[in-house]
Symmetry: C2
Subunit: 477 residues, 2 copies
């Protein structure tokens, strides 16, 4: 019997095998290919990989980068243990692979360098979120985990940013754990949503592990377990004087009338079905008109299959709703649940063979790589992004090769170096710091990118002359 | 720094807090409400909850139940530790909650009973997948975890079943870990896909933990790391004589010609972009016409944004493709990424107060519950489903109250009792056993439910007379 959680401990837990099998097959092939008379030792071949997104998910006009902290944690911790290696050795397909490769895996750790945009950064298609430079086996093995973490958190942060924007000055709380893709996805969605401006989550573990404010009202089952609805309300408020009451189990308006008639003092009510505009207007009127103004401070929360379009509509009609609980649509990014982030080899760096045995080479050989398959072209070389602002708004992003030093590159670079030879360089920002940074970032986005009704298809991104020349001059061999 | 995996150990790990906060708020309110002079002790109030799906995801005509093993594991293992309880006590909203509730949580374990349909069972809307009967606090606290596990695995098994059906006699392999919603979602998707008939997965951890066959070819980066494409092919086959070669890095047809010209012996090739029909026809012709019949056994695998509709089209046109690798569309259930499974209180069972202190009661008081909110109605009472087959095909499902004993109920019940007072009753089937059971189940589904082009909106489900009478007679108080 298997619970199928992925364990996480100082020895890397299950993370090393949470990968596509082909990463390990390629690792073995690299190991032997490059340890062959015609090639250098595999540790002398470095791969430079970049993660980027070719096309935005449906309806999206920008991306919010998220997930880096978990990727860095993984890179520093992941290891193969004996049991995992025994499993790999038992596979038929590995039967011709020799001991020395498995000995290599047993000692495997990530020793490369990582540049990335800070979490919460706004990005456009084809701009790198992460650049990895490491011995090619290391850079390859980490691909699947890096992609699954970055793709999901970036997907959700992007969706949450749209929802938070649509709510204007009303609060948004992430409520989607029950529909998220398993317990870990619920936790990751809570984190990404908070980065993008939600004020909290229903996920208790996100409160415990990350300090995110947790919120919750009550479920229909609580009401239904009592013979009378108003008994349930009274009992709940007795335990939670600041609690919210869920009113739609039988009839929302009738329930609000019962609350007022029974003089149940409540901080808020939650509407969860029906026409939320009309119910919120009726509810506000009933609460405001109650004798003695006793309910004029009672808040109204709305939930139930909400998304950015429905919230924008409610807000534009001035529905008297103070906060929105958003679940399924947010935590699964329901209108497009996949971010097509890819992780591509953009260059190799090879120490010339004749130099390896003698001395450190004066200069390494760099070889740019790119794909030319239809609709899957890549830009070669390790890259940096320079963002130019005008009046506080993004005017243009220039993508250039990392080692370019041209005058137009005076804008600050977006990618920072986080890991150097496997070791962390920067103190990572707190989650509240990331959230504040994102809320500043969103202010730099020109209004048209925030428009939910017109999806942007062109982006303020240009490529340096050298980069364009590299693409023109590339010929596959 | 936080890796955000959810730990799993014999003491329950993080699972107890992987829940919506309102479950814990309701737990406290139940604890005090029912330990009050007008109410029995909360442990004497049992809740009967059912998990079911109101509406199928878009385009779906049936469900494949999956996730039960992980739910049972969770129910048997989950516990609150001191650190988790300290966190809860620190929350402002819990400040009026007394010690005795937290002492209760510290000793919490699930002592209830669980009935469920075996994993792999075909179901229709409004039929229970799981029925839980437990002291109401226990039954409530487990809601979020149960839903997130069942919703996701059932969602993916259902999608996978459609994809496997569309592929007819060709094999389908799950390839979606990099786009799944985090590392755990990748693992859960691999399990659910295998149950529904995929022959394997790219997820290595699914091989290690569950014995699912793992598959993998190579990525573009491997090709790109060598100066010449054919060098990469040769080096890979040297390590993996049974490996498949990815041909679309630069030009698929040119790559196949290089393989043949360089006499690289390969078990298979993988097409990953472009017009898969035309490329597969050209590839097969090149391979079959190669001198000496050396490549007539070389297989063709296709991948790249495939789904059931694209596969159905390729298969109906007899594309010479031997296997399909399906990633994003499968592992995120892309056309509808959420299963709206809900967990609703259908009855409470209360020991009459005057009997509690004296002796075991002759009969408990049962109270059926249902919601009447718009579009969210529920059916009251603990239920069982009886399936009637005709000529080996599903003719009708009868949903009845669990204690009904009518002559028409002679068909075998679909829900089996798995847990009794917190203890496992049945030896769980192996994953291969579940998969074989599902492949038998799918044969009982009338053809129209397997049609991808016409979505079924009515289902062969009826309700017993007693159940219908209970709904008619219910009046909210």
């Amino acid at each position: 019997m298997e619970g199928l959680l992925i364990s996480d401990n100082a020895k890397g837990g299950d993370t090393a095998l949470a990968t596509d099998f082909y990463e390990l097959a390629m690792a073995a092939a690299y190991f032997y290919s490059y340890d062959h008379s015609n090639f250098p030792d595999s540790s002398k071949v470095k791969g430079i990989f970049e993660m980027f997104v070719r096309r935005l998910p449906k309806n999206r006009s920008y991306l919010v980068a998220a997930g880096l902290e978990q990727v860095l944690y993984f890179l520093m911790k992941t290891r193969f243990n004996n049991e995992q290696i025994s499993y790999l050795r038992s596979l038929e397909v590995f039967k011709q692979v020799h001991d020395d490769f498995f000995k290599y895996l047993r000692k495997f750790k990530f020793t490369g360098s990582v540049w990335a945009v800070p979490e919460g950064t706004i990005l456009f298609p084809n701009e790198p979120l992460i650049r990895v430079e490491a011995p090619i086996i290391e850079a390859q093995i980490i691909e699947t985990y890096l992609l699954s973490m970055m793709n999901f958190q970036t997907l959700i942060a992007t969706k949450a940013s749209r929802i938070v924007t649509s709510a204007k000055d009303r609060s948004v709380i992430e409520f989607g754990s029950r529909r998220a893709h398993g317990p870990q996805a619920g936790l990751l969605a809570a984190r990404a949503s908070y980065i993008a401006g939600c004020i909290g989550t229903s996920n208790t573990l996100a409160g415990f592990k990350l300090g995110i404010p947790v919120f919750g009202t009550m479920a229909h089952s609580f009401i239904m377990s009592f013979e009378k609805e108003q008994t349930a309300f009274k009992q709940f408020i007795k335990t939670f004087p600041t609690g919210y009451l869920l009113v739609d189990t039988y009839d929302s308006i009738a329930a609000i009338k019962k609350i007022i008639k029974s003089r149940i003092k409540t901080a808020g009510i939650r509407l969860d079905s029906g026409d939320l505009y009309s119910l919120s207007v009726q509810a506000r009127r009933l609460l405001d008109n109650a004798a003695g103004g006793k309910y004029s401070n009672t808040k109204i929360m709305a939930s139930g299959e909400l998304n950015e379009y429905l919230i924008q509509d409610l807000v534009s009609r001035c529905a008297p709703i103070d906060s929105f609980g958003v679940g399924t649509e947010l935590s699964t990014s329901r209108d497009d649940p996949a971010l097509n982030g890819v992780y591509k080899l953009v260059a190799t760096r090879i120490l010339p063979k004749f130099l390896i045995k003698n001395r450190r080479p004066a200069s390494e050989k760099i070889h740019y790589t790119l794909k030319t398959s239809p609709a899957k072209k890549t830009y070669p070389g390790g890259k940096q992004v320079y963002r130019i602002l005008e009046n506080g708004l993004i005017k243009s992003d220039l993508v250039a090769l990392e080692d370019e030093k041209e005058p137009q590159l005076e804008a600050p670079p977006l990618l920072q170096k986080f890991l150097d030879n496997g070791k962390i360089l920067l103190r990572l920002p707190s989650l509240n710091g990331i959230r504040a940074y994102h809320l500043d970032q969103i202010k730099t986005l020109p209004q048209k990118f925030l428009n939910l009704d017109i999806v942007q298809e062109s982006f303020p991104v240009s490529y340096s002359n050298r980069l364009q020349a590299e693409i023109r001059n590339f010929r596959p061999k």
